[in-house]
């Protein structure tokens, strides 16, 4: 730039003591002239300059929210709950993609059995069970220490994360299940999934959660296979009557879980 605004004029511009049109001209020049722009910065109160910079620094140093977290917040979840959910290990992309892979394999296995969805229906409810174990097995949990120290802690944490795991499992399990033609058969795993997850949590009040998960999973597979082998298609465990019984059992277990919630506070 071949010419510069003289100090005095620039000073009066900064102090807003100059005409509108001239101020506009100065602004047009400032856009193009590095030297005059730097001179303008030097005329701003140092204390004010440093204060604003301090606030920029504070936010630059803040960790950026994970993508999942901001989506959840967009849906109206409070910040702290959104972070709890986003940091739940069982909701990471790698975990969810491996679940989808296993379930697609289950679907393929079912189809090689003449379209009998039994393999898929028995396996699908185990997804949230394993998810809950992953969510609470602390070596992989970045929030374990925080959870231990948090005043809300315990039961609230368990509820939030179990719900998040259930919801995520539901979404990823629905996708492969759509490969089946018959909706009644493909959706039969929903209530069993809820039942075994709650049962796992209830047992976790008495023993290690991984032990609880193994016991519940084994029991579920055994009961499902034995009943499916024995029963005629009309009284299938995935049929309407059985589903009602499963729903009632799940509701009862939720009540038990709430009754025993104090144990989680001491976890």
């Amino acid at each position: 730039m071949s010419w510069h605004i003289d100090e005095g004029t620039l000073e009066r511009y900064v102090e807003a003591q100059i005409g509108e049109v001239d101020s506009d001209s100065i602004e047009a020049h400032l856009m193009a002239c590095d030297d005059c722009r730097r001179a303008t910065s030097r005329m701003v109160d140092v204390e004010r300059r440093d204060r604003i910079w301090g606030r920029v620094c504070d936010r630059v140093d803040q960790p950026t929210a994970r993508r999942g977290e901001s989506i959840l917040r967009w849906f109206g979840l409070p910040t702290h709950t959104a972070r709890l959910v986003a940091l739940t290990p069982a909701i990471s992309a790698s975990w969810l993609s491996s679940v989808v892979t296993v379930l697609v394999l289950a679907v393929l296995a079912s189809q090689s059995l003449n379209g009998d969805p039994i393999v898929f229906l028995v396996m699908a409810p185990l997804v949230p069970v394993v998810g809950v174990v992953v969510a609470f097995r602390h070596p992989v949990d970045p929030l374990y220490e925080v959870g231990m120290a948090s005043p809300t802690g315990g039961f609230y944490l368990v509820l939030v994360r179990a719900t998040a795991v259930l919801a995520a499992s539901l979404v990823v399990t629905v996708i492969p299940s759509l490969l089946f033609a018959e909706l009644r058969l493909t959706m039969g795993w929903l209530l069993p999934a809820f039942l075994v997850t709650v049962l796992t949590l209830v047992l976790a009040t008495m023993t290690e959660i991984s032990t609880a998960a193994v016991v519940v999973s084994t029991a579920w597979v055994a009961v499902a296979v034995v009943l499916e082998r024995a029963a005629s298609p009309q009284v299938s465990i995935f049929g309407a009557g059985a589903q009602l019984i499963i729903a009632a059992m799940a509701a009862a277990l939720v009540a038990v879980l709430f009754a025993r919630r104090n144990i989680f506070e001491r976890l």
Binding site: W3, I5, T9, Y13, V14, A16, I18, G19, E20, V21, D22, S23, D24, S25, I26, E27, A28, H29, L30, M31, A32, D34, R37, R38, A39, T40, S41, R42, M43, V44, R48, R49, R51, I52, W53, R55, V56, C57, R59, V60, T64
Partner: protein, 178 residues
């Protein structure tokens, strides 16, 4: 690269360093632009706290979005574009904020007229004779580079009014300079 060396770096190079998460480069860019941003925004919004917040958000956006600077056009223009759009967002979310587009202006002094060292003809006088409303519209569109719709938000008037005022301003200027 030390802080003293950053002093000689061009704005565009600073932005590239910021894209590599160099916070000292952000500081250097901040020091260069904070003054003109503060004054320029203050002429468009009378609320000091809002202006500071907009400046703060602007440099945060520069920090996070340095990668998106394509290198065409000046860094000053890019930074100002971010700042003025932040200001519009703030005004939009807080409709009671006051836009200072219509300050009473004093007659320009002789000193101010030779300010630019350029013979303007009577452009400066013609601009000064424009009514404050017309000048505000001219500034928002021609100087600040806003769209009609954005100018409408800042000035708190309908977009159609921005268009008609802009046409009237151009006609008056043409007549004054003819």
């Amino acid at each position: 690269m030390s802080l003293a060396e950053l002093d000689d770096t061009t704005d565009a190079e600073l932005v590239r360093l910021i894209a590599d998460a160099r916070s000292d480069a952000l500081r250097a860019l901040y020091d260069r632009h904070v003054g003109s941003l503060l004054v320029r925004l203050s002429r468009r919004c009378s609320d000091r706290a809002v202006v500071e917040e907009v400046v703060q958000d602007t440099f945060l956006a520069v920090w996070r979005g340095a990668r998106s600077y394509r290198g065409d056009g000046s860094v000053a223009g890019w930074v100002w574009g971010i700042a003025v759009r932040r200001l519009i967002d703030t005004v939009r979310s807080r409709p009671r904020l006051e836009w200072v587009g219509v300050l009473a202006s004093e007659a320009p002094s002789a000193e101010e007229l030779v300010l630019l060292g350029i013979e303007h003809g009577d452009l400066s006088g013609a601009l000064d004779r424009l009514s404050p409303e017309l000048r505000a519209v001219m500034r928002a569109t021609a100087l600040d580079g806003l769209t009609t719709r954005e100018a409408a938000v800042l000035l708190g008037i309908p977009a159609g009014t921005v268009k008609t005022r802009l046409m009237r301003a151009r006609r008056e200027l043409r007549e004054a300079l003819a």
